[in-house]
């Protein structure tokens, strides 16, 4: 399993052709207390850069973008009732989607942990 990071502050952990997507702890920290998550549905297909959901904090709304081309295979339904989990465990239990990777070559465009740490300073 390898974890990659996007400039939009998402993480994607890849295991073969399946992957889990979420937002980084840094993103959750920047958003503040999260009160609502709008998710897409299982079976929907996305291209890299498509909006795949919205996260709302007390302060503002913020979009989630597909870090690679993918198809949603599972939605973390617990976030609907408990959006605050995204503040508590954004890189753990509060993952947002499980997806099927459509084009593994796109992973090369994402960052590793060191590069992401450098980005957020």
């Amino acid at each position: 399993m390898t974890t990659y990071y996007s400039e939009d502050h998402e993480w994607i952990t890849v295991d073969g052709d399946v992957a889990t997507i979420g937002i980084t702890a840094h993103a959750a920290e920047q958003l503040g207390e999260i009160v609502f998550v709008e998710q897409r549905e299982t079976g929907e297909e996305f291209e890299k850069g498509d909006e795949i959901g919205v996260i709302e904090s007390v302060k503002a709304a913020s979009e989630i973008y597909a870090p690679i081309d993918c198809e949603v295979t599972e939605v973390n339904g617990t976030l609907e009732e408990n959006p605050g989990a995204l503040n508590e465990s954004p890189e753990g239990d509060a993952w947002i989607y499980k997806v099927k990777v459509s084009d593994a070559a796109q992973l090369e465009d994402l960052m590793d942990l060191d590069a992401y740490k450098a980005l957020i300073g």
């Binding site: 503040g32 009160v35 609502f36 007390v58 709304a61």
Partner: protein
């Protein structure tokens, strides 16, 4: 050309307390502290919270018959405002729109006015041009803080016993921590509390003395916004502006009877017409049924799918425990209980018109 944001006399204290500083109306202000917006919001509803509002414009008016002269630029009864009393009001333009909302206090030998941070550059020349024979002086050497919440009287009263004697919308001079401050019992959260004008050099010491009380925690602009929204209080630039009349904005309560009847202020024709016939649109409370917050600019439709208005303020209300909003709906709509749809990211989300405020105001009358 953009100027560097200005800092209030409390800047160093905000940084020391872990405030997350953001640019707000040209000022570097804390949006929240480590407690977070929701924690600070709840602190204010349950105990007491300290807000820095020094970015707002503090203005002193001196001269003969200041109250009468203020009545020529706003629809409030300032001529009869007694010494030691404060009043919420606004300046209106010739079309009956709201130029700014403000607090006016009769301080005896002068009037003390607090205006919105972003509008001082409009309001001060406006007063200078229209209040003949009145000396208009903006104060730059004083901080302004708000202590708000059910424990505000205990917090401020512990250091300043005269503060306990003030009632809602009363103002006085009194010492806190050996420093003479102007203390007014009012605020922008729906809770009991005070706004305190402090000489800038003493502001941090006075705030530290207040914060030594176990029931007081600092709160930022984030909580200030969610608190005022739940309390149904308008934010200039969101809910009211140059195009909205006081009657549209459901602010008729802030225009005293004599002024409604006699007029004699800019835009009186429109205000009196709307009082008699109703306004074309009205600001109302709107409660989304689901969990998605409806933000400023979201379209409001009736259940038949016709656009009837727009959200002007919307967020998550921590005390309500769900999204809350205010917005304008056209004439014929806006009765509490009426079902509407909010178009959030292209999808219709159900909501209901509700009476304001969302959270009962808790003033010390």
């Amino acid at each position: 050309m953009s100027e560097a944001p200005k800092r209030t006399p409390l800047y160093d204290l905000h940084v020391e307390l872990g405030g997350k500083m953001v640019d707000f109306a040209g000022w570097e202000m804390p949006v929240n502290y480590p407690l977070g917006i929701m924690g600070e919001h709840n602190q204010c509803r349950e105990k007491a919270a300290l807000f820095d509002v020094s970015h707002m414009g503090q203005v002193i008016l001196r001269g003969e018959n200041v109250g009468e002269k203020l009545e020529t630029i706003g629809p409030q009864a300032y001529a009869t405002l007694k010494e030691g009393k404060a009043r919420y009001g606004f300046f209106t333009n010739e079309d009956g729109g709201i130029m700014d909302d403000l607090i006016v206090a009769n301080a005896g030998d002068h009037f003390f006015v607090v205006v919105n941070a972003a509008l001082r550059h409009q309001d001060i020349p406006h007063m200078e041009a229209n209040l003949e024979g009145v000396e208009v002086t903006e104060i730059f050497d004083r901080a302004l803080v708000a202590v708000q919440g059910p424990k505000a009287e205990d917090v401020v009263g512990a250091l300043c016993p005269p503060a306990r004697e003030l009632k809602f919308m009363e103002t006085t001079l009194a010492e806190i921590n050996g420093v003479e401050c102007r203390i007014s019992r009012l605020g922008y959260t729906g809770e009991d509390g005070y706004e305190i004008s402090i000489p800038e050099g003493d502001a941090i010491d006075v705030c530290r003395a207040l914060l030594a009380h176990e029931d007081l925690e600092p709160a930022g602009l984030g909580a200030r916004d969610s608190l005022r929204l739940e309390a149904g209080l308008c934010l200039y630039g969101n809910d009211i502006d140059q195009s909205t009349s006081p009657i549209e904005a459901s602010l008729g309560w802030a225009i005293q009877k004599r002024r409604k009847e006699e007029g004699g202020f800019p835009g009186a024709t429109r205000v009196q017409k709307e009082l008699a016939e109703g306004a074309a649109r009205t600001l109302v409370g709107i409660k989304p049924t689901g969990r998605a917050p409806a933000r400023q600019g979201v379209e409001v439709q009736c259940t038949e799918g016709i656009t009837i208005g727009q959200i002007t303020s919307g967020s998550f209300g921590p005390t309500v425990g769900g999204p809350v909003a205010m917005g304008y709906v056209s004439k014929g709509h806006g009765t509490p209980g009426e079902k509407v749809n909010l178009i959030i990211r292209g999808k219709a989300q159900p909501a209901e018109i509700v009476a304001l405020p969302f959270v009962q105001q808790n003033y010390k009358r």
